[in-house]
């Protein structure tokens, strides 16, 4: 019976994550549209930051809940998480480089 209860709680957790992801998606799209319809003259930077954070939140739920990672052994989580440091550095470098190329051109 314990397995059955565990199964039920897992199913519940997945649907909960689905609803959260759905709400976040609606939030994102409405942010984008609100900028489009109401604040078109203003820079989009703040809204972009919020949308990126929302996407990271969705990514977290997909990885943690759908891919089941938050229930795995800690070593696996660390093994997969640490290399993201390299990615972060790559992202920083590339965006700085893009900006630098922009400043050279204009």
């Amino acid at each position: 019976m314990e397995a059955e209860a565990q199964y039920r709680s897992q199913v519940k957790a997945v649907w909960r994550a689905t609803i959260i992801i759905g709400i976040v998606t609606v939030f994102e799209v409405s942010l984008a549209l609100s900028h489009f319809f109401f604040f078109y003259e203003h820079p989009k930077l703040v809204i972009n930051v919020f949308m990126t954070l929302a996407t990271l939140l969705k990514a977290f739920y997909i990885i943690a809940e759908f891919m089941h990672l938050q229930y795995e052994k800690r070593t696996l989580i660390i093994t997969l998480g640490l290399p993201l440091v390299f990615l972060t550095w790559l992202i920083v470098v590339m965006l700085v480089e893009g900006k630098f190329a922009f400043s050279l051109l204009h």
Partner: protein, 254 residues
């Protein structure tokens, strides 16, 4: 005599192939990563694939940051099938995103049923997952063909900057008069390139899920005693979903 040798070999082979939990202190459940090697290989593969997609998206990002002007996605991705001429910014792509996320959820359900050894449940949820994948691919095909019909090519972008930086669209009849791309061609190039590469992943994912479905229906996994293969293919499918979340952000929202 010969039979004895065969028996011996059989034994050795069997021993060889049941290695992780019989002969290894750290094999099986007690392994370093807490996952069988098949699952850890899939995880590590996804990690490396994440690097591939980051490389691709960064290619797009560095170019976008460098460009002076970029078309407004709200004005490019604003059409819906069956609603010809109606302006629905981001409507269709939101539906696509929902479909892919739901399909991902269905696969999670299949994996959960797999843990309970519920063959029928696995099959049903896999079928739903595959339908979701195919629907997503269909949507993508429609979106691509819509853009291609309006004159977009990987090297040609019909959306160009107006005098105040607003997004204007070159009429189809005018295209012949503009051999060079009127707008930044990389808007189209990166869109087709990266969503295409993602679409390839989706296609592979659908094929993998179909393989899982066939083997489930044949009872292969049931005989094996676990549905780990569904889980591994499922990981891949969620990864495709994960990439789409970022593609959605970078191409459609920002």
């Amino acid at each position: 005599m010969a039979e004895e040798i065969i028996e011996q070999e059989q034994e050795q082979v069997a021993q060889h192939f049941s290695l992780p939990d019989t002969n290894n202190e750290e094999g099986g459940e007690h392994s370093f990563l807490g996952a069988s090697f098949g699952k850890s290989m899939m995880w590590l593969f996804l990690l490396s694939d994440a690097f591939t997609f980051t490389g691709l998206l960064l290619g797009y990002g560095a170019i976008r940051v460098k460009s002076e002007w970029w078309p407004d996605p709200n004005l490019v991705f604003n059409s819906m099938p069956f609603l010809h001429g109606k302006d629905v910014p981001l409507g269709f792509v939101t539906i696509m995103t929902t479909i892919l996320i739901l399909s991902s959820v269905f696969i999670v359900r299949a994996v959960q049923e797999g843990h309970r050894m519920n063959r029928k449940g696995v099959a049903i949820w896999l079928i739903w997952g595959i339908i979701g994948g195919l629907a997503f691919l269909g949507c993508q095909a429609w979106e691509w063909s819509h853009l291609i019909h309006s004159g977009m090519r990987p090297f040609y972008n019909v959306y160009y900057a107006g005098a105040d930086g607003q997004t204007l669209k070159l009429a189809a009849a005018e295209i012949a008069n503009h051999p060079a791309s009127p707008g930044p061609s990389m808007f189209a190039g990166s869109f087709f390139g990266i969503t295409g590469f993602h679409g390839l992943h989706v296609t592979i994912g659908v094929i993998l899920n179909t393989v899982a479905l066939i083997q489930t229906l044949l009872g292969t996994y049931h005989k094996r005693g676990h549905y780990e293969m569904v889980e591994k293919f499922g990981l891949y499918w969620h990864f495709v979903d994960l990439v789409w979340v970022f593609v959605f952000l970078f191409f459609y929202l920002i």
